[in-house]
């Protein structure tokens, strides 16, 4: 079972307490009525589907109830870092420790 650190509870807890909530840092168009069909399609459906460090949302649904963000390596399934919702997107190099 994956162990996930909730940044609000400050505890590393079993995956069963959490729910996955899709890619993180997807910004809703500020004026949706002015978005073109293509922009709206991209906002709703188009995701990065990366191989490697993936920025994603999780919710501590059977716990504090909060949404938060995580960077997870989609190859190893390892959580690189978790941080509160609304927090700045950490740079990949900072969370993987690589310099490429």
């Amino acid at each position: 079972m994956l162990l996930i650190k909730c940044p609000y509870c400050d505890e590393t807890l079993p995956e069963l307490e959490f729910a996955y909530a899709g890619e993180a840092h997807i910004t809703r168009p500020p004026t949706p009525a002015e978005a073109s069909d293509e922009e709206w399609r991209d906002f709703l459906f188009i995701r990065s589907n990366v191989k490697g460090a993936h920025y994603e949302r999780w919710r501590h649904v059977h716990g504090c109830g909060r949404f938060f963000n995580a960077v997870r390596d989609t190859v190893s399934d390892r959580f690189l870092v978790t941080y509160p919702a609304g927090g700045l997107r950490p740079a990949v190099d900072d969370v993987t420790g690589s310099s490429k």
Partner: protein, 183 residues
Amino acid sequence: MTQLPTHFESGQLSATSAARVTVVEPMARFSLRAGQGDVTAISEALDLALPTKIGQRTKAGATEAMCLGPDEWVIIAPDSEAVRLESACTAIYDQAPHSLTAISDREITVRIDGPRAADLLTLGCPRDLDAILPNEGRRTVFDGVTVVLWRDAEQEFRLDVWRSFAPHALSLLVTGCTELALE
């Protein structure tokens, strides 16, 4: 699997050499949501210092509070205290906006104690229970259902389960009581 009725009266559900599961008397329960800046004012009004760390509990008289999230608490008290708590919060609503919701009937509480009470909980709860110290608690999951777990002593717990999920969750506890006693 033990089949339980959907209506629960207070009293013993199961008692073996491993553990006992007892439905406790009804009580008043409130869900409190408030911002960090208003916690002090609400604490003063309730005459109960609200804990600010998730999982911590405080008690004043028979009224108990546990911090469930960054802006969320559960408060339990005898039925006779409910009106006092509600009016105390109403009185400071303008200065310290918050949400106080009566949830008394939403959940039922069972007491789980006995020499293997903690083992019994591990049947449905994936948490490391050693990380929850006596006089702490957490909201967590038990057999797929969200529950609030209160640890009162090394081998004594209370479990708040939503009423509609109670037959499911408590059935596992009753079955587990019997199975652990056979080991």
